[in-house]
Amino acid sequence: MRPTKYLTLFATLLLVGSSVQAAEANRTSLKVGLLSTLSGPGAGLGVDIRDGFNLAVKHLNGRFGGLPAEVIVVDDQQKPEVAQQAVEKFLKKDKVDFMTGIVFSNIMLAVGPPIFDSKTFFISANAGPSQYAGEQCTPFFFNVAWQNDNLHEAVGQYVQNKGFKNVVLVAPNYPGGKDAMVGFKRFYTGRVSEEIYTKLGQLDYAAELAQIRSLKPDAVFFFLPGGMGINFIKQFVAAGLSADSQLFAPGFSADEDVIKAVGAPMLGMFNSSHWAHDMDNAENKRFVADFQKDFGRLPSLYASQGYDAALLIDAAVRDVKGKLDDKEALRKALEAKHFKSVRGDFKFNTNHYPVQNYYLRVIGRDAQGRVTNKTMGTVFTNHADAYVAQCSMK
């Protein structure tokens, strides 16, 4: 059980407030359980979500919709059973009002049922499994990031347009990985010579790279989040494969966390994303500037999703004027999303997944010579996920 880190801005007031409050109409404070992967190869993603979320809390000076906010952060160590115990503690001991933060879909699916059964709203800042977009969709699940397939669909569309003939796909063997393969092939209808599944958390890709070399693909699409992606790209370049195969990845395998670790070898790599740090809207400029000031690094798309998740909670609590126990009103408030997202506008589909634009990015050098992403153009506008039809919610 990882050490829990309390971020309480009004510690004394809050403790008094939360312990004495009875179940009367509007409460005097609010608790959010942020459960994310803060150690292991996926740690970079979880840390960015946490920092983005905390930055938003700071911008809202510690209040969601006027209520003082207590954010409890727990590291799930990328292990389903650790997450399961943390969730049990959030629901029964801390009795949190909202939950957010989970990075990996396999953990999301493992802890989803107890959260939804206890009628606690989960605002996903990353994991968007196809199950919760389709037949298992639930009023208590909102996703401010994407449905897992979307980014892969965008890359599939681009690879199809560019006329690549022989593609190899690489992804970890977990729900997120399967969604990636399905998403890519939904829009890329060319020949896929091999779908390579690796172990989640695997770091040495010698065997897979040898296999890729023997297949001689003209393009390789990989979805390997965090440290896994970092090692794959480094070893891909070290094996000399980048000479004759063009590397493609969804946004989250080619964002700031990966660029910071790999650097130059990633120049010229195409990827897709729904957000980029060079988007020119007021919220995004303030978010990118303050994030760089506070944390000394460019925010990744995970940070933007953590930030938006906090803004969504704030907007919804303000709409219901603190009456958190009226679940129906809270659900409508969340669906209405009265807040401006850093990625520009998007709206929720009936299954509470976002309908938004997806852009093409390429990694190049910016004005100061730093290796970073540059937005090229739009691949999809107002793109919805492919599972909404199977969802019974209207």
Binding site: S39, G40, D204, A206, A210, G227, A238, G240
Partner: protein, 304 residues
């Protein structure tokens, strides 16, 4: 097709030689002092972290590795003198638990000092590309690992078989009481052996750091493989550790690469893709159980 087989064989060799660096130290500790040291993986982790820190400080890969090996050797010697020395007389359950406690302490200490996120340790830029030998491409860094591993193996083999210290070590491994009776200060000998083993762990940690990730808990999985190696090779025997590590390295790598496609020849692709990786990951343990079944003392038992 030959490119694939040759490349996979080299991968197996590289993994085997790295395993040997761990197994060599472990088999001597086990053989001479009959001590199960679960914390051997933690020394490997400490070496990787120290190498990462030293490389960043001196931004030279070689200085980084040298500093890490020295520091881990000293750490190993200190650990041996203060704690492990009290465990020799104790039974194996006590040894397993004391060193298990060391794993908990080491993982948390590393998290305290370097944080929960993996620490970057990159191969030197010069070696970040492939080497082209007559059309055969292979990552230069992995060739370096094979080279270093082979060199250390030869050096160790010469040291153990042709030097006085080596003779004492082998004597200690086959019969500790007699060695003590011959007036050899086994305590001091053992501290040297332990420190030397720790240095080898640091070398393995530093070399594998760029390929894997330098993070808390990295020692645990490779530790089990090292135990499998020394049990197959015969506890206490360097030759056994070398043969065992190459065997495990190649069987594990080729198994993972060839088995799924091999099985799909006569099984349905669905079953093969499911059963292949399962069998591959279980292969080395089956190998170990089989060897223990027919030769309960391993292939080259040190204790004749």
């Amino acid at each position: 097709m030959t490119q694939l087989i040759l490349e996979q064989a080299l991968n197996g060799l590289q993994f085997g030689l790295m395993l040997f660096l761990l197994a060599a130290g472990l088999t001597l500790v086990f053989g001479i002092m009959d001590m199960i040291n679960l914390a051997h993986g933690s020394l490997y982790m400490a070496g990787a972290y120290l190498a990462a820190a030293a490389t960043q400080a001196s931004n030279s890969f070689v200085v980084g590795i040298g500093a890490a090996m020295l520091a881990t050797a000293i750490l190993g010697a200190l650990l041996e003198i203060t704690l492990l020395r009290r465990l020799y007389a104790r039974n194996h359950l006590a040894q397993v638990l004391a060193t298990f406690a060391l794993i908990l302490i080491a993982n948390e200490a590393v998290r305290m000092i370097w944080g929960a996120q993996p620490v970057p340790l990159n191969a030197p830029d010069a070696l970040s590309g492939p080497v082209n030998i007559a059309g055969f491409f292979y990552p230069a860094y992995r060739l370096l690992i094979i080279g270093v591993g082979a060199l250390v193996a030869v050096l160790l083999y010469v040291l153990v078989t042709h030097t006085r210290l080596g003779m004492w070590v082998r004597a200690g491994a086959s019969n500790r009481e007699m060695t003590e009776a011959l007036g050899i200060n086994v305590r001091l000998l053992f501290t040297i052996v332990f420190a030397f083993g720790a240095a080898l762990c640091a070398l393995a940690g530093a070399m594998l750091g760029p390929l894997l990730a330098v993070q808390a808990g990295m020692g645990e999985s490779i530790l089990i493989l090292a135990f499998v190696v020394i049990v197959i090779g015969g506890i206490g025997s360097i030759r056994g550790a070398l043969v065992g590590s190459l065997l495990v390295g190649i069987v594990d790598t080729l198994g993972r690469a060839a088995l799924p496609s091999l099985l799909s020849l006569f099984l349905s692709p669905e079953v093969a893709s499911n059963f292949g990786p399962a069998l591959a990951s279980v292969l080395i343990y089956l190998l170990m159980a089989a060897i223990l079944f027919w030769r309960p003392e391993g292939l080259f038992p040190a204790r004749a």
